[in-house]
C-alpha cells in the first residue's frame, strides 16, 4: 500500500517538475515504454520465457488502436479512453493464437520461435498495405471519437493522465495475478518446469496463459503509443524493437516492477537524450548490458533495491586503501577507454566535427598519433593497476576467510 502511494505521488510530482512541453512529452513516452517493459518483465521475470519477438504484440496493439481511431474519425462511436484497452484485448487474442506453438517448449526453442514469428510479422507487414499502410504507415487522430465528457485529446496533460491510469491499473492487475494461484504456477514453471506437471498444472497451459497476459499488456502499450504518436508504421514490427525491449528490461531489472519503470525511462532516454551526449551511447549500453548479465543479473533496479534493503547497522567505515586504489583505477581506466571510444567516433566525422575534442579537462587532437597512443597507454596502465589491486583484494579476502 505504501509503495502504491509512493508511486502515485511520483507520477503526480514528476510532471510538475518538468513542466508542460518537451518534459511532459518525454514523461508520457516513458510511461508507454514502461508498460511495454512491464509486459516483458512479466513474461521473462515471472515466467522465465525469453521472447525475442514481443514487438509483434506491441505492433499489433498499435495497429489495432490506429484502426479504431480511424473508425472513430469515420463516425463510429468509439470512446477514446477505451482504445488502448480494446487494443490490448485484441492483442491478447493474437497472443492466444500464436501462444500455443510459441510456448510448447521453453528455453532456446521459445527464443527461436518467437524470433521467427517476429521476423514473419516484419516481413509480411509491407505486403498488405491496406492493413498496415505500406512504408508510410497509418496515421490517426486522437481528438476524434467519443470523449465521454472527460477526454480532451489535444490536451497533453490528459494524455499523460491516461498513460498513468493505464500503468497503475496494469501494475495493480499484475500484482493481483502474482499473488494468485496462477502467479505461483507461473513462477514454478520458471523454476522447474519438469516438476510442475507432477504436482498438477500442465506447464504448457501455464506458459500459454502467461504469454497471453503478457501479450495483452504489450497490446495496451502499443495502443497507448499509437495514441501518443498518432501514427504507426511497419517499423513497429522491426525485430530491433524486440531486441531493445529485451535489452532495457533486463538491464533495468526484471524481478521487480521498479525495473519496468526504469526500463521504460531508459528506453526513451536512450533514443532521445543519450545520443545527444555521445554518439557511442549504443556501444556503452551494449557493454553495460554484458557486464550486468555476467555480474548482476538482477539489473540496475535490482541493485538499487538490494542497496535499499541492506541490513541496517552496517556502519560506514572508511574503505581500505587498496579498495580506494581499485575504485580510482577503475574510474581512470574507464575514463581513458571512454575517451578513446569517443575519439574513434569523432574520427569518423572528422570533416563535420573537427579534429579537436575536449575530454574531461584535456584537449585531444585527433590528427596527432601521439595523443592516441597516450590515451591508449593511460587506459592500459590504469586497467593494469585495477587488475593488480583487485587480485590483491581477492587474495586478502580469501586469507581472511581461511
Amino acid at each position: 500500500m505504501r509503495r502504491a502511494l509512493f508511486l502515485v505521488l511520483l507520477l503526480l510530482l514528476l510532471p510538475m517538475w518538468t513542466g508542460q512541453g518537451h518534459g511532459l512529452s518525454l514523461l508520457t513516452q516513458m510511461g508507454v515504454a514502461a508498460m511495454a517493459c512491464l509486459s516483458y518483465q512479466w513474461l521473462w521475470g515471472q515466467g522465465g520465457m525469453l521472447s525475442f519477438g514481443q514487438a509483434v504484440y506491441t505492433g499489433a496493439g498499435a495497429y489495432l488502436a490506429v484502426h479504431l481511431m480511424r473508425m472513430a474519425d469515420a463516425g463510429w462511436p468509439v470512446p477514446m479512453v477505451l482504445v488502448p484497452l480494446l487494443a490490448g484485448l485484441g492483442t491478447a487474442f493474437l497472443a492466444w493464437a500464436l501462444g500455443g506453438i510459441s510456448t510448447r517448449r521453453p528455453g532456446a526453442a521459445l527464443a527461436m520461435i518467437t524470433l521467427g514469428l517476429g521476423e514473419l510479422a516484419w516481413a509480411l507487414a509491407p505486403v498488405f498495405p491496406s492493413v498496415f499502410g505500406g512504408e508510410g504507415g497509418l496515421s490517426a487522430d486522437r481528438t476524434a471519437g467519443l470523449s465521454l465528457g472527460i477526454w480532451q485529446g489535444a490536451n497533453p496533460w490528459h494524455l499523460y493522465a491516461l498513460v498513468c491510469v493505464y500503468l497503475l491499473l496494469a501494475l495493480w492487475g499484475l500484482g493481483k495475478v502474482e499473488h494468485s494461484p496462477l502467479g505461483l504456477y507461473v513462477r514454478a514453471v520458471r523454476e522447474q518446469a519438469g516438476r510442475l506437471a507432477h504436482v498438477g498444472p500442465d506447464p504448457h497451459r501455464v506458459r500459454w496463459t502467461a504469454f497471453v497476459l503478457a501479450g495483452g499488456i504489450a497490446g495496451v502499450a502499443g495502443g497507448l503509443s499509437a495514441m501518443v504518436f498518432e501514427i504507426v508504421t511497419p517499423e513497429a514490427f522491426n525485430p530491433v524493437r524486440s531486441g531493445e525491449l529485451l535489452l532495457f528490461t533486463v538491464l533495468a531489472g526484471s524481478r521487480h516492477w521498479a525495473g519496468a519503470l526504469l526500463g521504460g525511462a531508459l528506453t526513451v532516454l536512450a533514443h532521445t537524450t543519450l545520443p545527444q551526449w555521445t554518439p557511442a551511447s549504443g556501444l556503452y549500453l551494449g557493454v553495460l548490458f554484458m557486464v550486468l548479465v555476467t555480474r548482476a543479473p538482477q539489473g540496475l533496479a535490482g541493485l538499487a533495491l538490494q542497496w535499499w534493503r541492506r541490513e541496517p547497522g552496517r556502519s560506514l567505515t572508511w574503505p581500505k586503501p587498496v579498495a580506494c586504489l581499485q575504485a580510482v583505477a577503475a574510474l581512470g581506466a574507464l575514463g581513458f577507454a571512454g575517451g578513446l571510444v569517443e575519439m574513434a567516433y569523432q574520427y569518423q566525422q572528422l570533416s563535420t566535427a573537427g579534429s579537436v575534442m575536449p575530454w574531461l579537462g584535456l584537449t585531444l587532437k585527433l590528427d596527432q598519433p601521439l595523443h592516441w597512443m597516450g590515451m591508449t597507454l593511460a587506459a592500459l596502465v590504469w586497467a593494469g593497476v585495477w587488475a593488480v589491486s583487485s587480485t590483491h583484494r581477492r587474495h586478502a579476502t580469501k586469507e581472511a576467510q581461511a
Binding site: A108, A109, G116, L117, A280, F289
Partner: protein, 293 residues
C-alpha cells in the same frame, strides 16, 4: 532453360551457405547447450575482416585468414567471457551472446561506417563460365568452397579422435571429462570452429552479395529457422533444411510467380518463417529432431 539452371544453382549455393552457418550453430548448440545469438555477428565480422585484409594482402590470403581470425576471436570470447558464466546456466550465456551481437554491430559501424562497402570478388571469379552453360562463377565458387569445407568437417568429426571426443562431449560432457579429456578446451575448440565457419560464410556472402551492417540481422533469423526446421541438434537435419530454405527463397524470388494479388518475390523474405510456423504445427521437433526435444 538456362534461367532454370541458374536459379537452381543460386538456390543450391545459398542453401550451402546457410548450411555453413547452421552447421556451426548446431555444433555450438550441441556442445554448449546454449543458443549463440552472436553467431550471425561472427558471420558479419568475417565479411568485414576479409574486406580489410583483402585491401592489403589480396583476396586469396583474406579468404583463408579472415575465417581463421574470426575463429580465434570466437574461441577467445568463449574462454574469457562464457567459461566463467557456465556455472550460472544457459540463460546467462544466451543473454551475454545477445549483448555481444549488439556490441559487435556498434563496433563494426564505428570502424567501417553504416553504408554498404563496395567489396567484390577478384576478376577471375566474376562473370559467367562458358563450360556448363552460362552459370555465374561466383556461385560455383561458393558451392565449391562450401562443399570442400563441409567434407573436411565431416571427416574431422567422424574420422579423427578429436572428432570422436567432440561427438561424445556433445551428449555426455561430464563423462568425457571424467575420462580425462579436457572438456573446456573442447568447448573452446568447437566454439572457435563454429565461429570460423560463420566467418567463412561471411567472406563468401560479403564478397558475392553485400557487405553491410544489416547483414547479421537478415541472416541470423534465417539460420535459426533452419535449425528449428531441421531439428535442434541434428547436423543432417540442418543440411536438409538449409537446402530447402535456400531453394525455396531463391526460387520464389527469381521466378516471381503471382499468388493472387501478391507476387512471390514480395513474399520471399517471409517464406522461411512461414515454413517454420508450418513445421511447428505439423512436426514440432523438426525434420530430424528427437521427439520431446
Amino acid at each position: 532453360m538456362e534461367f532454370f539452371f541458374v536459379s537452381v544453382l543460386n538456390g543450391l549455393s545459398y542453401g550451402l551457405l546457410l548450411f555453413l552457418l547452421s552447421a556451426g550453430l548446431t555444433l555450438i548448440l550441441g556442445i554448449m547447450g546454449v543458443l549463440n545469438f552472436a553467431h550471425a555477428s561472427f558471420y558479419m565480422l568475417g565479411a568485414y575482416l576479409c574486406y580489410a585484409l583483402a585491401q592489403h594482402w589480396g583476396f586469396s590470403a583474406a579468404l583463408v585468414l579472415a575465417p581463421l581470425l574470426t575463429g580465434l576471436l570466437g574461441a577467445g570470447f568463449e574462454h574469457l567471457v562464457m567459461r566463467p558464466l557456465h556455472r550460472q546456466g544457459h540463460v546467462a550465456e544466451l543473454l551475454v551472446t545477445f549483448g555481444l551481437s549488439y556490441v559487435v554491430l556498434e563496433l563494426i559501424q564505428l570502424l567501417w561506417g553504416r553504408a554498404p562497402l563496395s567489396f567484390s570478388l577478384p576478376q577471375a571469379l566474376q562473370g559467367t563460365s562458358v563450360w556448363m552453360l552460362d552459370l555465374p562463377v561466383s556461385r560455383l565458387f561458393i558451392m565449391a568452397v562450401s562443399l570442400c569445407v563441409l567434407v573436411a568437417l565431416w571427416w574431422l568429426l567422424h574420422r579423427t579422435r578429436t572428432g570422436l571426443v567432440v561427438q561424445a562431449a556433445i551428449t555426455h560432457p561430464d563423462m568425457v571429462q571424467a575420462l580425462g579429456h579436457n572438456v573446456p578446451a573442447v568447448r573452446m575448440l568447437v566454439f572457435g570452429v563454429g565461429s570460423a565457419l560463420a566467418g567463412l560464410a561471411g567472406v563468401l556472402a560479403g564478397s558475392t552479395f553485400v557487405t553491410e551492417p544489416a547483414m547479421a540481422g537478415a541472416m541470423g533469423a534465417v539460420v535459426f529457422v533452419v535449425v528449428v526446421v531441421g531439428g535442434m541438434g541434428s547436423l543432417l537435419g540442418a543440411f536438409v533444411a538449409s537446402l530447402l530454405v535456400g531453394m525455396l527463397q531463391t526460387l520464389a524470388l527469381s521466378w516471381d510467380l503471382p499468388l493472387g494479388s501478391i507476387s512471390s518475390a514480395r513474399l520471399a523474405p517471409a517464406l522461411p518463417f512461414v515454413l517454420m510456423v508450418l513445421m511447428l504445427i505439423w512436426r514440432p521437433q523438426g525434420l530430424l529432431g528427437k521427439q520431446g526435444d
